[in-house]
């Protein structure tokens, strides 16, 4: 069975969202666009919004409303201390996991 990116995404969406918010705060659609621009085209719209709400509920994100020139106000999300810690920790976990997988796959290929 071929591997499906959308299946993989489910496990790492938190990390991906935290990553695109690391440097600049963004509203929901911003986050979605940044993920797509980074190459995660398969990400489902609703799941990004859900993830933002969950990270916010977990205390990893701040949220504030800003009026926009083009119309209604927008709710921005940004990383707070907890979010930055979570990002660092998750990055470590991911790297470790990715390294393990890479080694595993290289061994298999060799």
């Amino acid at each position: 069975m071929a591997m499906d990116t959308s299946q993989l995404l489910k496990g790492v969406l938190d990390l991906a969202v935290l990553a695109v918010l690391r440097d600049t705060d963004g509203y929901g659609y911003d986050v979605l666009r940044r993920l797509r621009a980074a190459g995660l085209e398969d990400v489902a719209d609703a799941s990004v919004y859900g993830t933002l709400r969950r990270l916010f509920a977990a205390g990893a994100l701040t949220s504030y409303v800003q009026p926009s020139e083009e119309g209604p106000h927008r709710k921005y999300y940004g990383l707070n201390k907890t979010g930055l810690d979570l990002l660092a920790q998750s990055t470590k976990t991911w790297n470790h996991f990715a390294d393990t997988m890479s080694v595993l796959l290289q061994e298999e290929a060799a």
Binding site: D45, R53, R74
Partner: protein
């Protein structure tokens, strides 16, 4: 910000809201704020007025969208409210009362004869409908209207309706929704608005009522798509409209109407209603009480007048006989000029000293010079007869005192 959304986007948002209605209110508003922003962006990408289909192709059905959101956000799975069957049953029962009692009286009001009867039953029906619909919505106690579908009766009704809808081929179904729905919204609103003003006694503004009704109806249709609680009011009103709209159409085609449809004409001549148009002959809204015909030479003539259908143009007689204690049987005449009572400064008195009434058919004015319009197309202007006006010409018929019409006036 939700208020800025319109059309398919607003409907989509409302459906997502309904799917997530079990969330705590605060979180629900927060997440819907995000969803509204999302939908706005997507709508902007799709173009000015995205369709429901366009949105679904991009985002999935509202239910799929809500499920995905729920999973990613870690919300608990939707509660399938099993408990409150009692509230649902009550809401459903009030809905049924609203859709039976209300329409029953309203249809009586709209098809019944007589303005007072119509207004009475209209009021009763409307009150019954609104009160029971209100109680039905209240019985939900803030829960989703969907809970009525969990009751046995609600479920079986929904299944029956779905089954009959399935009988319609899908393409016809789509046509019905895209074309039939707006037409129906306008028709029910126009007829409803016009009926409302007709029943409650303002015939003059029925056209305005129809236009306003159509607008209100479209608005209600939109609202109902977003908030199913409106169904408690809309279903009974739709039932009334389903009866009244065909009746209205039939009345306007056949012309043999009943009830409010002919109140306007039926009330003519009766003094009970204050909405009668003035009776008699009108010219540009001004009452015409008599007609004084003159021939080409400006001589007074007597004529009988008929309209385009051969109906005599009758006016009320104004002669001495009408003024006497016992007016003649035939009070109308189309024989012009109508004989009028002579205004005599020195009235002849009878033996008892009572002034004798005298009739006259003399015009109370001097006829203006006849215009030089050729009566027959005469190409040679030299030949044209210029009628010499005789403004001072004595009317050939000298008024005979006490003269009455020898010819029976109309027949």
């Amino acid at each position: 910000m939700n208020s800025t959304l319109t059309g398919a986007v607003a409907t989509y948002l409302a459906q997502v809201r309904a799917e997530l209605s079990d969330l705590p209110p605060g979180e629900l508003e927060e997440v819907l704020d995000d969803v509204a922003g999302h939908l706005t962006e997507v709508a902007a990408e799709l173009g000015q007025a995205p369709t429901a289909t366009g949105l679904q192709e991009r985002l999935g059905t509202p239910s799929q969208y809500a499920d995905e959101l729920r999973r990613a956000a870690g919300y608990p799975p939707p509660r399938r409210v099993p408990a409150d069957n009692k509230a649902a049953g009550l809401a459903l029962r009030w809905g049924l009362i609203a859709s039976t009692v209300g329409p029953f009286f309203l249809v009586i009001a709209l098809l019944g004869r007589g303005r007072d009867v119509s207004a009475f039953f209209g009021l009763v029906g409307l009150t019954a409908l609104v009160v029971s619909a209100h109680l039905g919505v209240k019985a939900l106690r803030g829960q989703s209207p969907r809970i009525v579908l969990d009751t046995p009766r609600g479920a079986s009704t929904a299944a029956a309706i779905r089954e009959s809808i399935d009988q319609i081929p899908p393409n016809v179904r789509r046509e019905l929704v895209t074309i039939g729905q707006p037409v129906w919204w306008v028709a029910r609103g126009a007829v409803g608005g016009a009926s409302f003003f007709a029943v409650f006694g303002a015939n003059a503004v029925t056209v305005v009522g129809a236009l306003a009704g159509a607008a209100v109806s479209i608005w209600i249709g939109r609202r109902t798509q977003q908030d199913a609680r409106w169904l408690w009011y809309v279903v009974p009103l739709n039932l009334v409209a389903a009866i009244i709209v065909p009746a209205w159409l039939a009345a306007s085609f056949v012309g043999g109407p009943s009830g409010i449809f002919n109140n306007y004409t039926a009330s003519r001549g009766s003094s009970s209603s204050s909405y009668n148009p003035p009776s008699g002959l009108l010219l540009d809204g001004v009452s015409v009480s008599n007609i004084y015909p003159f021939d080409e030479q400006g001589r007074p003539v007597h004529v009988r007048l008929y309209n385009q259908d051969g109906q005599p143009i009758n006016l009320e007689r104004q002669d001495c006989a009408m003024q006497s204690g016992n007016p003649p049987q035939n009070e109308l005449s189309n024989y012009f000029p109508l004989v009028t009572v002579q205004d005599d400064p020195n009235p002849t008195v009878d033996a008892d000293g009572v002034a004798i009434c005298k009739d006259t058919d003399k015009a109370p004015f001097v006829p203006p010079p006849a215009p030089a319009t050729p009566t027959t197309p005469s190409p040679t202007p030299a030949n044209s007869v210029t009628p010499t006006p005789h403004p001072s010409a004595k009317p050939s018929a000298t008024p005979k005192p006490g003269a009455t019409l020898t010819v029976p006036p109309t027949r």
